[in-house]
């Protein structure tokens, strides 16, 4: 009986998370079709999906696995570039857009997952903050590596160089796909809000089911006490690697959406650098470490905020920073928590029902 009650609670919580995403989707679709949504909001729908996925993905590493990753933008970068290369190369040969985009998503997820495994195998065996250090380096290496890569394609296949476009020796009708620092231009704009939402739902399905599965409990056991987990026979590296790889591949899919939402893709410090990784970490920390629903909400709010503050012109980023600090204090300072508990709606409603029962 006790077990059933507990099960119901998690199922209910998961259901609320799915319902929240679906309701948000329906509301936005109705508003968009009614034509009352501004172009800014319409343009922000796909980026919102991307950042929600990134936050959920990082929360899996930070909150559930309990390891710090400072290079999540690196996985996003891998997913973005691998899928964009595929899409640009096959834009003429695979004419079915859904098929091409589906393959691109798979390629992005697999490429990021491969890098997740490569990084994870040596690093996740160690104790301490090594994952943070290595992922930080990984993110920077990926970004700088892509800036010197030249990749072209002609009738004979792919040509690769790290010097310049001239040394690609492209044949007749060949085209340059990655042009060094100029990146990839002309990626088809296939990412839509609907696809973004569907991928978010799939992501949530995978992550939430993982968390509440046998494997998820093993992962959380490792997070809470590694020695105890090891002593009951949990294969530490296997479960750590599982969580980290899934996290990386979701980040890769986020990158695929990013690449197919803009026609130009360059690896700048701004979009795939250290700052972006920290940005995603901020989403996770503000939303609550280990709280998937919180990550979704904070990613949405923190992505919307700088855009909604555009009216403040020069003070925009200043206000944004202040809001971040205030939110952090409101969420975590002991006084604020006390205050919230005192004045929470839930408590108020509970009090009401208790009073009613008593009456």
């Amino acid at each position: 009986m006790d077990k059933l009650k507990k099960m119901n609670k998690t199922t209910k919580s998961n259901f609320i998370t799915y319902a929240m995403v679906i309701v948000a989707y329906i509301i936005m679709q109705v508003l968009v079709s009614a034509g009352v949504v501004s172009s800014l909001m319409t343009g922000l729908l796909v980026p919102l999906c991307i950042y929600v996925m990134m936050a959920v993905s990082l929360n899996l590493t930070v909150g559930i696995l309990g390891e710090l990753s400072l290079g999540h933008a690196g996985f996003m970068c891998v997913g973005a570039f691998s899928s964009a290369v595929f899409s640009v190369a096959t834009v003429d040969t695979i004419t079915s857009v859904p098929l091409r985009f589906f393959i691109a998503i798979v390629i992005g997820a697999v490429a990021a997952a491969v890098f997740g495994v490569i990084l994870g195998i040596p690093v996740l065996r160690l104790r301490g903050d090594y994952l943070a250090i290595v992922t930080l380096a990984f993110g920077e290496i990926v970004k700088n590596f892509i800036n010197v890569v030249y990749l072209g394609m002609d009738g004979k296949g792919f040509h690769f160089s790290m010097k310049d476009t001239g040394s690609l020796n492209l044949g007749e009708g060949g085209k340059v796909i990655i042009n060094g620092a100029q990146g990839i231009t002309g990626t088809p704009k296939n990412a839509t809000f609907t696809i973004g939402i569907v991928i978010i739902l799939i992501t949530l399905f995978i992550v939430l089911n993982l968390i509440h599965s046998r494997a998820g409990r093993a992962i959380m056991a490792i997070r809470d006490n590694r020695i105890a987990a090891e002593s009951v026979g949990i294969n530490i590296t296997k479960y750590k690697l599982m969580a980290f790889t899934i996290s990386a591949s979701i980040a890769g899919v986020g990158g695929v959406l990013y690449a197919h939402n803009l026609s130009t893709l360059t690896a700048l410090p701004k979009n795939f650098g250290y700052n972006m990784s920290i940005m995603i970490l901020v989403f996770v920390v503000l939303g609550g470490i280990g709280n998937i629903r919180g990550s979704i909400i904070s990613a949405v709010i923190l992505t919307l905020l700088p855009e909604l503050l555009r009216g403040l012109n020069d003070y925009r980023m200043l206000i944004y920073a202040i809001v971040l600090i205030v939110m952090m204090l409101f969420n975590w300072s002991p006084r604020a928590r006390e205050f919230r508990e005192k004045y929470s709606i839930k408590r108020f409603l509970n009090r009401k029902s208790i009073e009613k029962e008593e009456a």
Binding site: V36, S38, A181, Q182, G183, T185, S263, T264, L265, T266
Partner: protein, 391 residues
């Protein structure tokens, strides 16, 4: 009771914020109908925060001067210009957001974006929506790949080509070393074309030394390689802040070749704590020099100095010319302010190819249908801490 009050307050706040959104939406609709037909709405996009802010601010200020001048002189076709500049933080994604914000503002023509990568992303959107776009400084090739996009500056390959030709034709050197930023679109774009053109001009590229945005403080290795390769001239297709360091470090290692740069070097004399004596004899190919003696430049520099307290760089001049080019095109097309952006776009496209304009960055500027500008590059040499025109 207290609880009830707080709940009611919370609810009313939530409702207020929701209805606030609703009224804001209808509010813009009202202003749209009121303002339509009286002013031309020109949008601008560029970085005014972050690492590239210096370029965005220059463009914003330069454009504002042009807008004020035009409005003071009676506007365009009898209508005033309205200018709205949005920040893109030098990021493609933010740039599209900025563009959408301007679209909600009912922008009729776009002056932007300032930097190349965001420009490519925004050009995709303007082409889809058919909005006229004129970038002051987006120099990479795909920025103007669509019919609706034009630019004021030279394209990157064009600068590389012109630099190689200038060095070759004037016999400045036969052995050239290049130090460039491989992580920068502008720098690598110029370098690629320069290397391609060099053999045609009898120039031998003896060293190509790269640095990246993450390691742009120590250039001794690159300089040493250039020196060992026997370079007579070092070509610097980079921005002035790094070039200032290169000049200082070349001086300490005793390496004294001829230095030659592109428009990115403009501004080197204003770098703080930089000994301008080091820049003596540096040559650069730039369309704008702040101490040129023609009336237009003198007036512009004076106004800029008065309003913003600094000497304008080439980006400000490009923006100033961009606004005047839009004005000329609007006049050529006999456009009226009640036309929508979609109506204006095709007429401005044809008008752009017909106008002939004298601006800060060139005389008799004309545009081709593929968006490129025709103007003569000016080479200047730094003599006694000031730009001196070369011929």
């Amino acid at each position: 009771m207290k609880k009830a009050m707080s709940l009611i307050l919370a609810l009313s706040m939530a409702v207020a914020s929701l209805t606030g959104c609703g009224s804001a939406a209808s509010g813009t609709a009202e202003t749209e109908s009121a303002a339509a037909g009286t002013t031309f709405k020109i949008g601008g996009i560029g970085p005014v925060t972050g690492g590239a802010a210096v370029y965005g601010l220059a463009v914003k200020n330069g454009a504002q001067i042009a807008i004020d001048e035009i409005n003071a002189a009676g506007g365009v076709n009898g209508a005033q210009l309205e200018f709205n500049f949005q920040d893109d933080e030098h990021d493609a994604e933010k740039s599209v957001n900025a563009y959408n914000t301007l679209k909600d503002w009912n922008m009729q023509a776009l002056m932007g974006t300032v930097t190349s990568t965001p420009c490519i992303a925004v050009a995709e959107e303007t082409n889809k929506d058919q909005v006229f776009q004129l970038t002051p400084s987006g120099s990479s090739v795909p920025c103007v790949q669509y019919d609706n996009a034009f630019r004021i500056c030279f394209s990157d390959p064009n600068q590389g080509l012109k630099s190689a030709q200038y060095i070759g034709e004037n016999g400045l050197a036969t052995k050239v070393a290049i130090i460039f930023d491989s992580s920068d679109v502008y720098s690598s774009g110029i370098k690629d074309k320069f290397v391609e053109e060099a053999p045609n001009q009898g120039i031998e590229v003896v060293a190509q030394e790269a640095f990246t945005a993450d390691s742009k403080t120590d250039f001794t290795v690159q300089l040493q390689k250039a020196k060992d390769a026997g370079a007579e001239l070092v070509f610097l297709p980079i921005y002035y802040s790094e070039a200032a360091l290169i000049l200082a470090q070349a001086n300490t290692t005793g390496f004294t070749p001829q230095f030659f740069g592109c428009d990115g070097l403009d501004g080197i004399l204003t770098v703080e704590n930089f000994d301008t004596a080091l820049a003596e004899n540096v040559m650069l190919l730039t369309p704008f020099a702040a101490d040129a003696q023609d009336d237009l430049t003198k007036k512009f520099v004076e106004t800029y100095n008065k309003n913003f307290g600094e000497t304008p760089n080439q980006f400000a001049a490009d923006a100033y010319d961009a606004i005047y080019a839009i004005k000329a095109a609007l006049e050529e097309a006999k456009a009226t302010p009640d036309m929508s952006a979609q109506d204006l776009c095709p007429v401005l496209e044809t008008a752009m190819t017909k106008i002939n304009m004298d601006g800060l960055t060139g005389e008799g500027m004309t545009w081709t249908a593929d968006g490129e500008v025709n103007k003569a590059p000016k080479a200047v040499k730094i003599v006694k801490g000031a730009y001196t025109a070369m011929d």
